[in-house]
């Protein structure tokens, strides 16, 4: 695979989910991503392309960033398939291709969901929130007090954006080549990174940051009130403690946060009115 071809796959991978549907998930996107590679591979046999594309239009679903591991591995297997000399070896390789497509998409999705959605996204959010609080941007207040430059406002958001994307784009780019050039015992390049250790360390740092943020939030909470232990302080403290306890309970009951907020809004309205 040439650099140019890798770049084309990489670029097209941003549109993997464009045709997302409930019957075959990312099938249209997968065919779109792999099309340049298949065109190059079957350049001398263009009539074979529709039937080859048909295989890529079957079910496919994985995490979009980690999908790059599937692209490289499928490209490698497609080359083997194209080189098959007998019908028996073709059928055997086709069966392997199907197995790899299915198992690798599940494995990649599992790692990607835990790493990117479950760890990196909340971690970068925490990171940004800490930066804003360090800049004295007290977002806990209904009207944010003070004046801030665009740099101060967008700086933290940009840091979160860059941190997430540096890692995501690196994995996305490397995933294609690692899985394509991987040896047979290398799990298509997936074993190149210690995913569990990375997730574990990121989560440990996340806990540290979130405790820091809660303490910081508590400081701002007290700091912004003129009279500590006055009526306003006690009212707010009770509400905060109430919601912290409620959200700990609803978390265990798997009730999403948004419903806690919506119910709280309705209950408060009723209590205040009657």
């Amino acid at each position: 695979m040439t650099r140019l071809l890798q770049f084309r796959l990489f670029f097209r991978s941003f549109f993997l989910q464009a045709g997302w549907n409930f019957s075959k998930y990312q099938n249209i996107g997968l065919a779109f991503v792999m099309e340049p590679f298949l065109r190059t591979l079957y350049a001398k046999d263009e009539e074979a392309l529709p039937s080859v594309l048909q295989r890529y239009l079957e079910n496919f679903n994985t995490q979009p960033t980690m999908a790059s591991f599937c692209f490289g591995a499928l490209a490698k297997q497609e080359e083997r398939l194209a080189r098959a000399k007998t019908l028996t070896s073709y059928q055997q390789r086709l069966s392997e291709w199907n197995g790899i497509k299915r198992s690798l998409s599940i494995t990649s999705a599992s790692i990607g969901d835990r790493l990117f959605w479950g760890t990196l996204k909340p971690f970068t959010l925490l990171f940004a929130l800490c930066i804003w609080l360090m800049l004295d941007l007290n977002f806990f207040e209904t009207d944010i007090p003070g004046h801030f430059t665009y740099w101060e406002i967008f700086g933290a958001a940009l840091t979160a954006f860059v941190t997430f994307n540096v890692i995501a784009l690196f994995v996305k780019w490397q995933g294609i080549s690692l899985s394509y050039f991987a040896e047979n015992n290398g799990c298509f390049g997936l074993t190149r990174f210690d995913w569990n250790k990375t997730i574990y360390n990121a989560k440990r740092m996340g806990i540290l940051f979130s405790v820091l943020l809660l303490l910081w939030g508590a400081y701002y909470f007290v700091h912004s009130l003129d009279e500590v232990f006055g009526l306003a302080f006690i009212t707010r403290a009770v509400i905060v403690l109430f919601f912290v306890s409620i959200s700990l309970i609803t978390r265990d009951l798997r009730i999403p946060n948004m419903y806690v907020y919506l119910v709280a809004m309705l209950v408060f309205c009723m209590v205040c009115l009657f």
Binding site: F14, F15, Q17, A18, G19, W20, N21, F22, S23, N27, I28, G29, F32, E35, R39, P50, L53, L57, W117, G118, T119, K121, P122, L125, A128, L137, F139, F140, T142, I144, Y150, I153, F154, A160, F161, A168, Y200, R204, G206, I207, S210, L213, I239, V240, F243, V244, I246, S247, L248, R251, P256, N257, M258, Y261, L262, A264, M265, F268, C272, L273
Partner: protein, 200 residues
Amino acid sequence: MMTVLLLCAVGAFLELDTTYAFQLTFSRGIIAGPLLGLLCGDVLTGLQIGIFTELLFIDMNPLGGMLPPSATVCCTLCLALCTLHIPVYFAFFFGVIGSILFSTAEIYMRKQRSNWVARQENLIRQRPAYLGSVIRQALACACIFTFVFMLVFAGLIGPAFAKLVPHLPEQLHAAGKFAYMAVPWIGLTTLISAFRLKTR
């Protein structure tokens, strides 16, 4: 009303990043919020709405076929209602409801797309070069659908509630403020549990 139109147009484009294209996370609350806030001339409100939205939806991830409410739609609707002179704590409430409705509408749209995709597959088999056109059509449909949804929602709720706001009793405003103030705390509590070390 021009600002609402502009917000919906930019919001619809940003929303593509959530699922259909890029996934570079510029659709997440902390980025979309201040960006949209910049459009309506109140970056700080945009930022706060963005932070609150992201904290509120942090416990829902797009795993498998699950479709969490969109942070971009919530921020856009919220800011659109703010520009129609609805206080931020009420606008946020409607923004959250709007984003939940949007995810329901999006599920319906995806089910409908299955039939459309089946038809497109036949065309792709006949002419593989048609793939690019299918992708462009899918993106355009998603963008237009989001734009129309947000415009209709903001157009229906905004003017009606804006007329109601001056007549609302002061207690309701206090209730809205209290609930709004609780959002970051609900979110932060969930955020800690998001980092629980279940297995190594």
